[in-house]
């Protein structure tokens, strides 16, 4: 009797060692299916990719990724991951939700996550939706734009015209209008979308055309919530550098001279002598502040005013960590201002651009949003 118990325990121990060894040989495998923007979009997809890379380094998981050549391939890419018995499959973007939901119902021993949407209406035990309160972060960057615009006109370039991006739009608009009201000026928020199909996430040419058009109408700060299409907006502001008084349309004039004390880089002084004001982009999802630097010197004027941070990287990392630690739960995980899931970026590239007074007011607004005293619209 005793012997058999000892033997049993020994066998169990052996099995434990064996399974540990097996675990070491077969680390957790995570599959990432990107959307049309591609993993180097400097934005949403890239942020996910970076979160996964961090998980690979710190948690020792293996990351496999899949960039669909066209939307019709997403389904089979996700299925392939599931069929190979991956531990976790993450669909990046709402467009991957139907494929993930389908696969989650079929492969019940594989765990799934969708970023920006809720798979299976949150009822699947093996699938989780990672969603964000983008309107809250967008409100804050909108407030920055409204406070610092020198023309009283700010722009919004959205990617695909869908409710998800309307959250960015509405938050930004509300924030900018609140700042305009606080300054006592009659401001304007221009709103454009790149398109109505997933191709809108990766059309920098059209993004650039829209930025050009908004700038023509007097916008000096443009918020790009458009995935890789935002690179076109960035390209525009870096080429344009400044708005001249002579280029302003009828009815728009310079109402302030913010940024006049910010040291400028040489090419700016050369191109923007006289009565001019700098033009800016506001980045999205990842911290894109560095993209506005033209002279590899963060101290001089940079053309990205700030970035609306949507910590997709955090969300990705935490869901991978949950799987690794066996704490994965199906349903919905929501990220907002209260748990630092969204916010705005402040670093060496833009600390000279945003005055302390504005930062103080942002702090107050943030508290009001978290406490519920201030309601930010999330839909049109």
């Amino acid at each position: 009797m005793k012997k058999s118990v000892v033997l049993g325990i020994a066998a169990l121990g052996l099995a434990g060692v064996a399974s540990l060894a097996a675990l070491a040989q077969n680390p957790i495998r995570v599959g990432l299916a990107f959307d049309a923007g591609g993993k180097q979009d400097r934005s949403f997809n890239q942020s996910t990719y970076e979160g996964a890379q961090r998980a690979a380094k710190e948690l020792g998981v293996q990351i496999f990724d899949f960039e669909p050549a066209d939307p019709s391939q997403v389904g089979s890419g996700i299925r392939k991951f599931a069929e190979e018995g991956f531990d976790l499959v993450i669909g990046v973007g709402f467009a991957n939700n139907p494929a993930i939901t389908q696969a989650a119902k079929e492969f019940t021993d594989v765990k799934f996550a969708v970023i920006d949407d809720v798979p299976g209406e949150g009822k699947l035990p093996n699938a989780v939706g990672l969603v964000f309160r983008e309107h809250e972060g967008s409100f804050l960057v909108g407030y920055i734009a409204g406070s610092l615009s020198n023309t009283g006109v700010v722009g919004f370039v959205g990617g695909m015209d869908i409710p998800l991006i309307h959250k960015f739009e509405q938050g930004y608009k509300a924030g900018a209008e609140r700042a305009f009201a606080a300054r006592g000026i009659k401001g304007k928020v221009l709103i454009n979308y790149v398109g109505t199909t997933p191709a809108a996430w990766n059309d920098p040419g059209k993004g650039k055309e829209l930025a050009t058009s908004q700038n023509r109408q007097g916008a000096d700060i443009i918020y790009a919530a458009a995935g890789a299409s935002g690179l076109g907006v960035k390209d525009f502001v870096l080429q344009k550098r400044c708005l001249k008084a002579s280029e302003l349309p009828a009815g728009v004039k310079f109402v302030s001279d913010n940024f006049k004390d910010v040291p400028k880089y040489a090419a700016y002084n050369q191109a923007c002598a006289g009565n001019t004001r700098p033009v800016f982009m506001i980045g999205v999802d990842a911290n894109q502040n560095y993209l506005g630097d033209t002279d590899r010197n963060p101290a001089t004027l940079n053309h990205v005013l700030t970035s609306m941070l949507k910590r997709v990287d955090q969300a990705t990392y935490s869901v991978i960590k949950n799987v690794k630690e066996g704490a994965f739960k199906g349903g919905v995980l929501e990220f907002g201002l209260s748990n630092n899931g969204v916010g705005y970026a402040l670093d060496e590239f833009n600390k000279a651009l945003i005055p302390q007074a504005v930062l103080n007011r942002l702090g107050t607004l943030r508290q009001q949003i978290i406490s519920g005293a201030l309601k930010v619209p999330s839909a049109r």
């Binding site: 040419g205 690179l231 590899r296």
Partner: protein, 334 residues
């Protein structure tokens, strides 16, 4: 050859009126933006359609223009990025005036190379032109992503280049030198096509290759030259998209412009001036659709669809008649 037909002029007038009416309803700022945007949207269409004109006038349908644009765009962006990499490693702020032009040249040559492959298949081996062209278009959708995966570890976008063509500033906008080049090519193409012996031979080969052959014209050589020329121009259009207007290559960035150029070629009746009118019209509607995005005037998708509806009407023979060169699409056998 008939001059610009009344319907062409009619539509240009309608377009002009639309601009004026819109101009009164919206601000003049938008109007200026619309004007420059039209130029930018027209440029790649015009370059490609002019190229396609040579090919089709020689009797070879070139449905592969779309693919040639993509190959040209990818080659231009990647060559600029590769050329500037060592320079930027030494000094991140270093700029070079010649690197982007080398990129443009590489883009053109790449377009020409792809056109050569196409020409060998359809002229020498008399392959079905539509099928071969489609094959090249499919290749152009797949090959650049494979190359980008190897170079940049992503299939969608190439690395953004620092050295791009220096734009010429006009009225608060800046316009790529390739825009000017495209419009200057119109009279040049007209002259080549209608005022030179080579142009006469080209048209003869496309209308009556047997007769041209009897007269001692080398039909094959004329067709090779014309198809390669179309590839060079489509490659130039691609280079405009990637390093002229933007600073990177994006997968499928031509977004069907090769096909639109082909439609403009038919709309413009295989004539340089007609092609200019048609591409301007198409470019105008593309630009208008962009300007109307998000506005309340008219849904932009409707505006975007207008050129395609027009093309269908023209092809169906409802507006004017468009007659292709007699021998287009038919391989020539001696």
């Amino acid at each position: 050859m008939k001059r610009l037909s009344p319907f062409m002029i009619g539509f240009l007038v309608v377009a002009a009126i639309a601009v004026v009416v819109l101009g009164m309803r919206v601000e003049s700022a938008i109007l200026i933006a619309l004007f420059f945007s039209t130029l930018r949207q027209t440029t790649p269409l015009l370059l490609t359609a002019l190229g396609g004109m040579f090919s089709e006038r020689s009797g070879v349908v070139n449905i592969a223009l779309e693919g040639m644009i993509l190959f040209g765009a990818a080659a231009a962006a990647i060559s600029v990025e590769r050329l500037e990499a060592p320079m930027l490693a030494a000094d991140p702020l270093a700029r070079s005036a010649w690197i982007p032009w080398v990129g443009v040249l590489v883009g053109m040559l790449m377009g020409g190379l792809v056109a050569t492959v196409y020409a060998i298949a359809v002229i020498r081996y008399r392959a079905e032109q539509i099928v071969t062209g489609t094959a090249i278009n499919l290749l152009a959708a797949g090959a650049p992503p494979v190359l980008m995966q190897a170079l940049y570890n992503t299939t969608t976008n190439s690395k953004e280049v620092e050295n791009r063509l220096i734009n010429i500033p006009i009225a608060g906008e800046s316009i790529s030198p390739l825009v000017f080049l495209a419009f200057l090519l119109v009279p040049l193409c007209w002259w080549v096509m209608f005022k030179t012996p080579w142009g006469l031979r080209l048209r003869a080969v496309g209308e009556q290759p047997e007769a041209a052959d009897t007269m001692g014209i080398n039909v094959y050589r004329m067709r090779y030259t014309a198809v390669i020329l179309s590839g060079l121009l489509a490659g130039l259009a691609g280079a405009y998209l990637s390093v002229g207007f933007l600073n990177q290559f994006v997968k499928n960035m031509s977004a069907g412009q090769g096909f639109i150029a082909l439609a403009a070629l038919i709309f413009g009746k295989w004539h340089p001036l007609g092609v200019l009118g048609a591409t301007l019209l198409f470019g105008f509607f593309r630009a208008l659709a962009i300007q109307l995005q998000g506005g309340e005037v008219m849904p932009s998708v409707v505006v975007e669809a207008i050129p395609y509806v027009l093309t269908i009407l023209v092809l169906a023979g409802f507006i004017g008649r468009s007659r292709p060169p007699a021998a287009v699409g038919k391989p020539y056998e001696k």
